[in-house]
Each structure stands twice: as C-alpha cells, then as structure tokens.
C-alpha cells in the first residue's frame, strides 16, 4: 500500500463529500430553525436551503457553486508514516477534485488576477498542522466560500472594554454583515493571543460540532449569551428578517498580552461544508463526519 496515494484518495473523497453533503449536525440545526422560524420570508429561505441540501445529495452535485478556497486542518500522530508526503498528496488531491467533483476554480493571483484553474496556488490549499501522539493522520477538509470570509472582522480592543465590549463588538459585526455571509451562519469568535492567533482561533472554532457543549463552563455561558444576542437582532435567514441569524456561536481563547485584547469574528455560511477522516498507518480509513 502506498500511503501517499491513500492520502490523496482520501482527501479527494473528503472534498467530494464535503461539498455535496452537509454534516448531520448542520442539517439538524437548519431543520430545527425551519420549524421555529416565525418570519414568512425567513421560513421560505430556510425551506429553499433544505430543498437544496436534499437535491444536492440526490444528484451528487455541490450544494453551492462557490466550492470555496480550500483548507485542510490536520491532526498528525508523530508515529504516522509518511508525514513528509502529506502536503504534496493534498495538493494533488485538490487538483484532482477540481476536475473530478468538479470544484469551481477559485485560486486567483492577487497581482495578475489570473486564475490557476485548479484551486492550487501559493499557500493554497492552506494546510494547518497540529502534531499529537499516535500513528494516524486525521484530515478535515474545509472548503469555505468567499461570501462568509468577506465579513470576517478583527478588532484590537482595549483591555478595559472587557467582556461587555467583546459582546457588543460581536453583535455589531453580525448586524453589519447582514445578509452577506448567507445567514443563518455559524459564528466563530477568537479572543486573546495576537491578531493572527485570535483569527486562527475563530476559524478553528468553526470546526466544532454544533451540538457539543463547550467543556469550559464560563465559555459555554458566553457562547449561549452571544447566540441569544445575535438571534435577537432579527437579521434572519439571508438577511431578509427573521428569528434565525446564527445556528451557533463558538468561542475559542488564548491568554493575552496585558496591553492587548484582540477579538476576531469568523463566519461560516449555512452551507457549512466540512468532512473529516482518519487514516491509520496500517492503511485503515475511518470517515468521521459522513457515511461512505
């Protein structure tokens, strides 16, 4: 068995699965929102989303034409054989998936404006590593659309702004974003560290299962409070008004410098596409988010 070929095949599968079928937790959250929504227009939007999800699954077609800029989040066991081959295998997988699934070519040079045509370019796909013990490689594919990326926000707040300042900032950002990030969204909030750390934490928060309660009691309380607050804005599905502005708010934090208080907000659109699999050194593959 060639591990490099296996990684490539699994990554192609993950990209295909992620763009065609939403994870169970996201589908359930949208269904729940549909039943609860009281705005007629909002309900009609949620209905279109649910119909679209079903059609995409039946027709094996990507849910949304914007199949995103592609990121991979890796948990790599230090004893996994062939770590040095992973990045190359992932780039090959993206190229293949672009033609096989297909994915929309979305990698554009910011200087020449030329599209590479295969979703591979400088630092794209983005690959995020974390090394752990064990002899497996866990890959999460996160193809993320441009609309929700464009409403991300970062503010270097004053420490004296405190928690209430943070909450206000998050709600302000959600109101300002309006319908642009395709609500109902999942909102990732990163607090502390530096600006890059806060945004990275906000993005990683988007990978959390929606139905899992944060094990840190205080953070769980903050998540709930923010969730209730943003849903009181009335922005609603697609920003057309309604009760459902966010499906969840997830908070991640780092310790901060005494003088800084960075807060980052990242949005994930309702078509919250992601897929995860674990490859063991011996070659077994487990798909963790989708039935294969």
């Amino acid at each position: 068995m060639d591990l490099k070929v296996l990684i490539e095949d699994v990554a192609v599968n993950l990209l295909r699965l992620s763009v065609i079928e939403l994870p169970r937790d996201v589908k359930e959250a949208l269904e729940k929102a549909y039943h609860k929504e009281t705005s007629k227009i909002g309900k009609a939007q949620l209905k279109a989303m649910l119909d679209n999800i079903k059609m995409a699954e039946e027709m094996h077609t990507p849910i949304c034409q914007d199949t995103g800029l592609i990121s991979f989040y890796l948990k790599a066991g230090s004893r996994f054989k062939g770590l040095e081959k992973v990045e190359d295998a992932l780039r090959r997988a993206v190229r293949r998936a672009t033609f096989e699934v297909p994915l929309r070519p979305n990698a554009v040079s910011p200087f020449t404006q030329m599209n590479t045509g295969d979703n591979v370019g400088l630092h794209v796909p983005y690959i995020h590593w974390s090394i752990t013990s064990g002899d497996f490689l866990e890959i999460t594919a996160l193809p993320k659309g441009g609309g929700s990326e464009n409403t991300s926000a970062l503010r270097m707040m004053q420490p004296s702004d405190g928690l209430s300042g943070l909450k206000r900032f998050v709600v302000d950002v959600v109101i300002e974003a309006g319908g642009k990030p395709c609500p109902p969204t999942i909102i990732g909030v990163g607090v502390g560290g530096g600006p890059n750390i806060a945004m990275e934490l906000a993005k990683i928060a988007l990978l959390e299962p929606l139905d899992r309660l944060n094990p840190d009691k205080e953070v769980a309380q903050l998540e709930l409070e923010l969730y209730q607050a943003v849903n009181k804005t009335g922005i609603g599905p697609m920003g057309l008004g309604g009760d459902t502005t966010a499906l969840a708010v997830k908070v991640n934090y780092a310790h901060r410098h005494p003088a800084s208080y960075p807060v980052a907000v990242a949005f994930q659109c309702w078509a919250a596409r992601k897929a995860t699999a674990r490859i063991h050194s011996k070659g077994e593959v487990e798909y963790l988010t989708h039935k294969v």
């Binding site: 007629k40 227009i41 009609a44 939007q45 279109a48 989303m49 119909d51 679209n52 059609m55 995409a56 027709m59 077609t61 990507p62 849910i63 949304c64 034409q65 914007d66 199949t67 297909p102 994915l103 929309r104 070519p105 979305n106 404006q113 599209n115 659309g145 441009g146 609309g147 464009n150 405190g162 928690l163 209430s164 909450k167 206000r168 709600v171 302000d172 109101i175 309006g178 319908g179 642009k180 395709c182 409070e225 607050a229 009181k232 804005t233 009335g234 922005i235 609603g236 697609m238 920003g239 057309l240 008004g241 659109c269 309702w270 078509a271």
Partner: protein, 211 residues
C-alpha cells in the same frame, strides 16, 4: 442610517410569474417582500464582467449580448462541458454589494429590469432602480442546485477569457425562483428595514448582557 420613512417590518407578499423581456411597468409593480418566478432568459455577470461592460459603454462599443428587459444575475456558476454542450451543475447568487460600483450605470444604459443576487445593494443602485424602473431580488444564497434545476439550457456564453465564474452566461430558465424582491422602484429596501430594526434592538440587547 437614514430612512425615507419609518418602516414597519410587515410587508405584503404577492407572487408574480414574469416572462422575459420584463417591461418597465411590470418592474414598477414589484414591491419588497414579493416573490417572483422568471421564465425566459437570464444573464449572469460578476465583478470582471461588470467592469468590462462599463468599459464597453465608455468606449461606445456594442456588447455581444443584450440585457434589454432581462434579469441580471450576480452568479459565477459551476459548469461542466459534456459533448460540446455546457451543463450547469450549480448556480446560486454571489454577494451583490461587490457590483455596487457599476450597477447604476448598467441599469441606466442597458434597460435591465431585475437584478438578482444576495446580500443587498447600496444607495446608488437604490436610486437607479427608482429612477429607471427596476427591482432587486434575492435568490437564496448557497441554493445553487435549486437554481440550476430551473435552468433549462445554456443559450450562450461570452467573455470566457475572464474565466468560467466571471464569464457572461445567458441561461434559458423556467420558473426560476423563488426570488424575494428586496429593493423596489419605490425606494424601499428590505435590507435597510432589517438593519434599521436591528440597530434599534441593539440597545436592549446590550442592556441584557450579564457583564
């Protein structure tokens, strides 16, 4: 934000089935909250196509496609070529605000009667819709398969040199929708109404924060 008048978030909902070309008087009947289904032709354009259309207008050159009475769809579709024929796999809207810079000129010069996108548009577009008699509607963002299901065929594609998402696609559609009218020719904007209401609610939201 200043509004023309104090809105209430109660809008009428009337369903319209329109065939293209859409006439000015038909476009002027549409009001925010209405649901529209389109049959006939639909033309896509995103950032690069908008820029090129404006360039053509400036230089007095004619366009290789017509927008007269047609809906302009902010969309960069995902397509596949099967036996020399384009097949649209998924074709939902993209964020309209990026086209704000150009849209008023296009409405004015090319007789567009309906703009379809997502997320809303700004003041310049709102004024152009009022002045020239057109409307802006939202197709559910991300619902690209639903949209593609209403596209019967690709009638034409121009400016493919801009890349597949940025090219101008002319689609033949049947009952393309639901499209929610969000900015109408009376100057009403559903987005402004929702934002205005949200900002009003902000005070109470902040008051309820525990710390």
């Amino acid at each position: 934000m200043e509004l023309l008048h104090e809105y209430q978030l109660v809008v009428r909902i009337v369903k319209f089935h329109l065939e293209t070309p859409i006439l000015e008087r038909q476009a002027r009947k549409l009001k925010v909250g209405d649901i529209v289904y389109i049959s006939g032709l639909l033309v896509t354009a995103r950032d690069a196509a908008h820029r090129r259309i404006i360039q053509h207008l400036k230089e007095g050159r004619s366009l290789p496609f017509s927008l007269d009475g047609l809906p302009l769809f902010h969309c960069g579709p995902l397509v596949r070529k099967v036996n020399d024929e384009w097949k649209v796999l998924t074709a939902g809207p993209t964020t309209s605000m990026r086209m704000e810079l150009f849209e008023d000129e296009i409405i004015k010069s090319l007789n567009v009667r309906l703009i379809i996108g997502k997320g809303g548009m700004g003041e310049k577009t709102r004024r152009a819709l009022m002045e020239f008699g057109a409307a802006y509607g939202v197709f559910t963002g991300g619902a690209g398969v639903l949209a593609a299901g209403r596209i019967k065929k690709v009638k034409n594609v121009e400016w493919l040199d801009l890349g597949i998402p940025e090219a101008v696609w002319v689609f033949e559609v049947g009952s393309f929708g639901p499209i929610i009218i969000s900015i109408d020719s009376y100057g009403n904007s559903l987005f402004d109404m929702v934002q205005y209401e949200a900002k009003k609610r902000m005070e109470e939201i902040v008051k309820n924060f525990k710390s």
